[in-house]
């Protein structure tokens, strides 16, 4: 939802970044306010996933220019774990498996790391159990998931639901979904989208990164940005997604070429 004069959650200006000497982001500018859902679309290799990893602080990428302000703070100065505790959440495209660590222990450690950072008392096993039972319903997950090792042996859909469960527990200010729809069947897609919609509110913001328009049937964005060659080519409302779906990404490039 678009709210007048709401707080700016994320402000990105002329961001450039590289990996192993290859420039991936070439001057990206974007502003996201509380209450809004933004979608970034674009062809493979356009830099959308890189952008999400840079926001989360992935060590493999080097920021070479520009600025990223998150809730008034310079995000680029913070370590990945500090960004997370401040409220940046990345739902991974390929969540990793962590053998031997139970989902519950992981979720509680994560929840308490954030609570500690904000000066809140840590939750004991009993309080956490109550919290998690409530959150499980958002993603319609079976409680047996909790005792299994993190993501180990999970199907693609289960992994993605586990990501949304984590988002539900951590209540981030900015939820970034990196191609969360990839590899999901329609039922899992609906559950995941429904979870995101339930978690979206006037205090937080969502950034949905996707290759296909399909997800945006279920998570309706307030703004859509088309990314290509490491920058945002054009922005618009949800109708833009339909046009992209019908006409492909090349059309945007041609349109812009004509405009120049």
């Amino acid at each position: 939802m678009i709210i007048d004069n709401s707080e700016v959650i994320l402000s990105v200006r002329d961001l450039t970044a590289e990996i192993d000497g290859n420039q991936i982001l070439k001057g990206l500018t974007l502003e996201i306010k509380a209450g809004e859902i933004h979608a970034i679309m674009g062809p493979n290799g356009s830099g959308k996933s890189t952008f999400s990893k840079i926001l989360a602080g992935h060590p493999a990428y080097t920021v070479t220019g520009g600025e990223v302000i998150f809730k008034g703070k310079n995000l680029l100065e913070l370590e990945p774990e500090e960004r997370a505790r401040e409220g940046v959440f990345l739902a991974f495209q390929y969540p990793v498996e962590i053998p031997g660590v139970s989902n519950t222990d992981f979720l509680r450690a994560s929840c308490n790391a954030r609570r500690k950072h904000h000066g809140l008392p840590e939750l004991d096993a009993f309080d956490f159990e109550d919290l998690i039972q409530e959150k499980l319903q958002i993603v319609q997950m079976d409680p047996s998931f909790l005792s299994r090792s993190v993501n180990q042996g999970f199907s693609g859909g289960e992994k993605k639901r586990n990501e949304i469960l984590q988002m539900a527990i951590l209540e981030p200010k900015l939820g970034i979904l990196d191609e969360t729809d990839s590899g999901l069947d329609i039922d899992a897609l609906k559950i995941v989208a429904n979870g995101v919609n339930q978690l979206s509110n006037a205090e937080n913001a969502m950034l949905v990164i996707t290759h296909y328009q399909r997800l945006l049937n279920y998570i309706v964005p307030d703004f859509i940005h088309v990314m290509e060659g490491g920058r945002i080519l054009t922005s618009g409302t949800k109708e833009l997604a339909l046009e992209l779906e019908a006409r492909g990404y090349d059309w945007v490039k041609e349109e812009l070429a004509v405009g120049v």
Binding site: S102, F106, R114, L170
Partner: protein, 479 residues
């Protein structure tokens, strides 16, 4: 592995101090005269001289084994001091009050208080300093139950018939190079005897401390569990930091008779050398248990974190029908450490069962190998084994190997082997960091999870200690 958690400082080895104490030390070198000298110093009965000399002659004819996946410069056995004992004012100590206070302080500093007021309430401790046993706590209390817990030197004098019957019965004098060496020159160690039907009322524990920089430590442990008895025994070890390597060649023999159970746990934290691989203990140990009686059970649990080199295969020989052997192991190597460790499960009796759970963790540029033999003999009808060997790599320069040997001579035998290799990689650390979890916490969480099947086998007090120890050892290994 590069940037995630840079410059976490390596935790210094906090047991690395040297105790200044006057020692009764024999000159370096090994010969028949040295064997006789040790025998004479210990004032042992005649049968011990035979035992030692027989072993020495076998050792002379043997060569050092070279099949393990470890590398080290040749050891000059003529430079090793085979016997070093702190000087005591009296030859025979009657009570703890007569022990040199410096020694009591040393053990207290290591977290092993021996004095009446401070000692652990439910664990009896035998404290071994260089070549001799300093003190054994709770002896009187244990004696009431008929349990004998004393140093092996005392046992040689006080229970010669038991020693003569069982010493070398599980690990013969000529079993292997290091066992033969140990049999020739061993100086002390622990002796445990649990009489028929007795459930030992407390944990028994030996704490080994090497203090002398040039001395080898050759200790000998013998545990006998009579019919229907039970004992849980724990061994701990530390050593000062020296630039040179010290040799530790121990032999442990366990005998379980009908329906008896022995649980043997080790938390090994010998000095591992510095991060460049200078110094540290060479830990060449022979440990073997004999499940001689029907329905007997021997369970080895080891947490190996120290030593420059570990060469160690705690084994079970399952002779009694329905007897059970277990091996639970966590072996952690960091920096330049090398470990070649595992077990042997020899099934001889019918319906014998064995379980092997091995967890190897390699960090730094260390090398960690699991080597295990499961042998099912021709008469071992219905024998079963389950083995699980998991390796975890931290960083890009560590190595893990698994060498399973399986020999089945009975068509009804059943052997299962599972193995896995996982890695604590940049991806996992980033994933956990993205959830607000620091690199240190992330590693310790993953390691605890990886090891929990083994830690759950340790006595409670030591499980927590072991968990903490691993985290300390790994500090600085990510990043």
């Amino acid at each position: 592995m590069s940037t995630t958690a840079k410059n976490l400082v390596n935790q210094p080895y906090k047991y690395g101090f040297v105790t200044q104490i006057e020692s009764d030390t024999i000159p370096p070198g090994l010969s028949e005269d040295v064997v006789r000298l040790i025998w004479a110093k210990k004032n042992e009965p005649e049968f011990m001289l035979d035992f030692r000399l027989k072993a020495y002659r076998k050792w002379q004819a043997m060569t050092e084994p070279n099949w393990a996946a470890v590398k080290y410069p040749p050891i000059d056995y003529q430079k090793i001091i085979c016997y070093s004992a702190p000087k005591q004012k009296k030859a025979k100590l009657n009570s703890l009050e007569e022990v040199d206070p410096t020694l009591l302080e040393t053990f207290e500093k290591l977290g092993i208080p021996l004095s009446e007021q401070k000692r652990l309430s439910n664990v009896a401790v035998d404290a071994v300093f260089d070549s001799v046993s300093i003190a054994t706590t709770f002896r009187e209390k244990l004696a009431k139950e008929g349990v004998i817990f004393c140093s092996i030197s005392e046992a040689v004098h006080e229970y010669p018939e038991l020693v003569q019957k069982y010493l070398g019965s599980v690990v013969p004098t000529g079993d292997n190079f290091y066992a033969a060496l140990n049999s020739a020159v061993f100086s002390d160690g622990s002796f445990v005897y649990i009489p028929k039907g007795v459930h030992c009322p407390m944990e028994l524990s030996t704490y080994f401390r090497i203090n002398n920089g040039e001395s080898g430590q050759f200790e000998r442990t013998l545990i006998i569990a009579e019919e229907g008895s039970y004992v849980s025994y724990l061994e701990g070890c530390t050593a000062p930091m020296f630039d040179t390597n010290q040799l530790h060649a121990a032999v442990v023999e366990l005998v379980a008779l009908d329906n008896a159970e022995i649980k043997y746990s080790t938390v090994q934290n010998w000095y591992a050398g510095d991060e460049k691989g200078k110094g540290g203990i060479y830990n060449f140990v022979t440990k073997r248990g004999l499940c001689q009686g029907v329905n007997s059970k021997i369970s080895w649990t080891q947490v190996e974190t120290g030593s420059a080199i570990t060469w160690k295969y705690p084994s079970c020989v399952l002779i009694g029908d329905n007897s059970v052997g277990e091996f639970y192991s966590v072996a952690l190597t960091n920096n330049a450490q090398q470990a070649d460790t595992g077990t042997k499960m020899i099934h001889i009796g019918k319906n014998t069962r064995s379980t092997i759970i091995s967890k190897g963790i390699s960090a730094g540029r260390s090398e960690n190998s699991y080597r295990g033999l499961v042998k099912i003999g021709p008469n071992a009808e219905g024998a079963r084994n389950y083995s699980q060997c998991d390796s975890m790599l931290i960083g890009d320069n560590a190595r893990a190997n698994t060498f399973p040997y399986i020999q089945v001579q009975n068509p009804n035998g059943k052997v299962e082997h599972e193995a896995s290799t996982s890695k604590i990689g940049e991806d996992q650390l980033f994933y956990l960091a993205q959830r607000g979890i620091s690199a240190e916490d992330a590693v310790s969480m993953m390691i605890s999870g990886f090891c929990k099947d083994v830690f759950s086998q340790l006595p409670m007090e030591f499980a927590v200690e072991a968990d903490r120890l691993l985290s300390l050892k790994l500090e600085g290994s990510v990043g």
